[in-house]
């Protein structure tokens, strides 16, 4: 409450239902995500788990390539996977709270009889996982630099491009999370995380682990439609510099063009998710499954 209180009392924020809801929901999300009785558990979930999943990949890679960790492709794969942590965290972070609130905390009906804005609420609930995800990404990349001498030098990183592309990437992921959350709102019975499923399914299509060119031509459009593809490419260019150009997929596009495409897809997704959320809410209220619990 300590930082949130004065923030919420600034007149500008207090007057905007969206901002107020967003900040309050972020606060709630953070209480939930960071409230590990045991800091050790927190460390395991946010640090050890992502690092080990990347390590598994490193082992597989070095077995297949006979330990060619100096090849540019290694840095490409390593960075792609480190950044991909955010995909699952943001999509699930935004969407999972529907199930959490409906079935675990059983607060969905309490929340939706207040005038808070549901869209901003779900977005806010995703912030905590985003923060944890960002920490995981930084730690994973740092670990790679130390343990595998990834060719990254802090001084040559294009920070502006990194930040812009990551902001856009995260926004587009949040929009996808909203769509997933909206779908969840309409589904009465639902035990597993649709968000995790989607981020898992798209893993192969975003250039996280190999350039899209490896895929058969008819599968590539999936990757080109998914904003993560452009975000990963831009982030890798920003971090690796000219090294990143060794990968063919999007090399025909300039940084600016890629940023433009990413921005356009992100905007489209945000607009779509906003309408989709309204529609899903309406459907859920229509079908009487809005605050239904799975155990009903």
């Amino acid at each position: 409450m300590s930082i949130t209180r004065p923030l919420l009392d600034t007149p500008f924020i207090r007057r905007s239902n969206h901002l107020r809801t967003f900040i309050t929901a972020s606060w709630l999300g953070w209480q939930i995500e960071s409230n590990w009785a045991d800091p050790f558990l927190f460390a395991v979930y946010s640090i050890v788990r992502p690092v080990t999943s990347v390590l598994i990949l490193v082992v597989m890679y070095s077995v297949i390539t006979n330990g060619a960790l100096q090849e540019p492709i290694f840095a490409y794969i390593y960075l792609g996977n480190a950044l991909y942590i955010l995909v699952g965290q943001v999509i699930t972070g935004v969407s999972w709270s529907v199930i959490d609130d409906r079935e675990h905390y059983r607060t969905l009906r309490q929340l939706y009889t207040t005038p808070m804005d549901g869209y901003s609420y779900l977005m806010g609930r995703g912030v905590a996982r985003l923060i944890i995800g960002l920490i995981s990404v930084l730690i994973t990349i740092g670990f790679g630099m130390v343990a595998f001498q990834l060719p990254i030098s802090i001084g040559t990183i294009d920070w502006l491009m990194l930040v812009i592309s990551t902001v856009l990437g995260v926004l587009s992921l949040a929009a996808i999370g909203m769509v997933v959350g909206s779908l969840t709102l309409m589904l009465a019975r639902h035990f597993w995380s649709l968000g995790d499923a989607i981020s898992g399914a798209l893993y192969l299509f975003t250039g996280a682990i190999f350039p899209l060119d490896v895929l058969p031509a008819w599968l590539r459009p999936i990757g080109f439609a998914f904003p993560v593809t452009y975000w990963l490419e831009l982030a890798r260019r920003a971090i690796l510099g000219p090294n990143a150009a060794k990968f063919p997929t999007l090399s025909g596009f300039s940084d600016l063009e890629l940023t433009g495409i990413l921005a356009a897809i992100t905007l489209a997704l945000l607009v779509f998710s906003w309408f989709f959320y309204r529609w899903a809410l309406h459907r859920a209220k229509e079908n009487g499954i809005f605050d239904m619990e799975t155990s009903y």
């Binding site: 409230n35 905390y105 005038p115």
Partner: protein, 346 residues
């Protein structure tokens, strides 16, 4: 439109589609509300009384903008529940009894504070309200306790407080005392009465199973069963309808197996309603008779069935009797119960 009405429904209907085995074309439907016309005046403490599955929660959900009606319309403070959702939510609150939900890792204060924020309260007002409400319901000492560490009853009280934190115009209480012990239930009823007394222009719509609660609290109440509104009046007037009737509680020897329809107690001329509950060793009869002298025919009937009178009591009509008279069965009796009146009605 009448500005003196806090709640108004017109032919309100709600049908649920039941999702059974996935066969297209024969989706089963359940009529939860059937042409309900309800008018609750501003300042009223209004009760919805009805057995399980009557549709009470469905009405509340529709009025609280959580569920869309399938037919008819509903207004809360003259705002349409399907169109003016945001504006309605600013003015209402809803608490369900037996609601032990909440973010377990937040403290009581944090949880209430969060809801106050969703209602747009500023920090100072929020804290003041939280403190005074917790004080009133007697859990001020638990302000800093995590919700997960609260007993179910205390959690329910906290949720109850949440319903008043925004100083709402219309409060929906869905079985607010469900599962509470006697003292806690009395606290909650006391709070509602006091709040209504202090805020005479506010409205409370309350559902309950408990006749005594409805009788004690409500200015007016509606009796609903199977989605239909059967009566709507003050508890006093409802009971007054039965004033001419004679109401008896009889304890008699075992009645034996259920007889055929025309040999039932209801078949005795002048018996308006009868409920029969088998206890171990004896049978309890609750009779509503058109006149007192029907009683001798009833006793003759019992003798014919080989039963004998153990005790007899004439009493004033209660809401329970009103309910039995209207619905044909007791409120606390499940549809599956083996009361004769039940079978006669169904």
């Amino acid at each position: 439109m009448d500005t003196n009405l806090a709640i108004q429904t017109k032919d309100l209907g709600r049908v649920y589609r039941l999702r059974g085995p996935k066969r297209k074309g024969d989706a089963k439907q359940l009529v939860a509300l059937d042409g309900v016309n309800l008018e609750v005046r501003r300042g009223e403490l209004f009760g919805l009384l009805g057995p399980n599955g009557a549709g009470k929660t469905t009405i509340i959900k529709i009025l609280a903008t959580l569920l869309l009606p399938t037919s008819g319309s509903a207004l809360v403070e003259d705002l349409d529940v399907t169109r003016d959702v945001q504006e309605i939510r600013r003015r209402i609150s809803m608490v369900s009894g037996g609601e032990t939900s909440g973010y377990g890792l937040l403290t009581v204060e944090e949880n209430l504070w969060m809801f106050a924020r969703f209602y747009g309260l500023d920090n100072v007002t929020a804290r003041k309200r939280i403190d005074s409400l917790l004080e009133v319901v007697g859990i001020a000492d638990r302000k800093r306790t995590k919700i997960s560490d609260l007993s179910t009853g205390l959690r329910q009280k906290m949720n109850f407080v949440r319903g008043f934190i925004s100083d709402p115009n219309v409060v929906f209480l869905d079985e607010p005392t469900l599962g509470l012990d006697v003292t806690a239930a009395r606290d909650v009823r006391g709070f509602v009465k006091q709040w209504m007394h202090d805020h005479p222009d506010r409205t409370v719509l309350l559902t309950t199973h408990y006749m005594a609660e409805a009788d004690e609290l409500c200015d007016r109440l509606a009796i609903i069963d199977r989605g239909k509104l059967l009566a709507c009046d003050s508890p006093h007037s409802l009971k007054h309808r039965l004033q001419q009737d004679a109401i008896f509680n009889l304890k008699v020897g075992p009645l034996g197996p259920r007889p055929s329809r025309d040999a039932m107690i209801e078949a005795v001329p002048g018996v308006r309603q009868a409920t029969v509950v088998e206890q171990n060793g004896h049978t309890e009869l609750n009779l509503i008779l058109a006149q007192e002298d029907v009683l001798s025919d009833v006793l003759a009937h019992l003798t014919r069935r080989g039963s004998s009178l153990i005790s007899l009591e004439k009493r004033e009509p209660t809401l329970e009797d009103v309910f039995i008279d209207l619905v044909g069965r007791r409120l606390d009796v499940d549809t599956s119960h083996h009361a004769e009146g039940e079978h006669a009605a169904g």
